[in-house]
Symmetry: C2
Subunit: 141 residues, 2 copies
Amino acid sequence: MSDFDLRGFLPYLLNQAAEAASLDFQQYYKDRYGMLRTEWRVLFHLGIFERMTASDISARARIHKTKISRAVSRLEARRFLERTRDMEDRRVEWLSLTQAGQAAYRDLRGVAARYDRALEEEIGADDMAALKRILQVLAAR
Amino acid sequence: MSDFDLRGFLPYLLNQAAEAASLDFQQYYKDRYGMLRTEWRVLFHLGIFERMTASDISARARIHKTKISRAVSRLEARRFLERTRDMEDRRVEWLSLTQAGQAAYRDLRGVAARYDRALEEEIGADDMAALKRILQVLAAR
DNA sequence: GCCTAATAGTTGTTTTTGTAACTAACAAGG
DNA sequence: CCTTGTTAGTTACAAAAACAACTATTAGGC
């Protein structure tokens, strides 16, 4: 048996941890709102920034524009967001949450915050802070 | 603007970091060997443990058995692995790498090790150790 | 103004994944 | 033995993602 340890290989380890965490949160947004992963991310971006274009979200969240486009369509169909055409530049459309979208955002934001706090209790505040700091470096590259 | 910070939400942050890291490594196994993510994982498990069943890999890597099944088929078609039926229990088949599979494994293992070392230089040995320790806790849940 | 290039966003097609149902082989209780 | 349940692995179908090509609009050089 080779002595290479997969669990020491960061891309593998990161994916294992990320998948476990994603699955936990998925229960909520999938069961309660029938959302997909890209959809809750778009919802959160609009919840936080209130008014963005699809390109803004794509750049900030690093999600491909076709994924954004389809997520926006679905969120619009379910009346979670609205689009308004920009009158200066008519290629652009501004996205913002409806009342229902804001309510869903606040609900899920609460779930997310509680999840984070629970995890912090589990692994300790110091490790949590270190983890976030290092991950932000990795994610920013 | 809401004061919630997505980059403080661990499932989101983990995914961002994991995707960034995965993309780097993907270049290699995709371009050189035409492999998918599940396939290099299966390859590595067999490279490390030499002889496993699909169920073994599924349990250890936490990959669904249908994904394993498909990855094994593709790896077999490309002559990276071989199957042998267990004579005691004929439901079971043992998987092992061919010469070509072992060569690919050694090559990719080297790439992985170098990638990890480069990352360690970038973020520092202490942070790297802390990161791996914490991620292993998260992934193990 | 007019041509070319760039940008915003969408749509179509192909891969890949997820879910459930399936076959085959074994195990255990009666 | 023979039913019932379990395990190993595959296959079929639906959902989602990746990738490329597309429309519409604007910007910039000449």
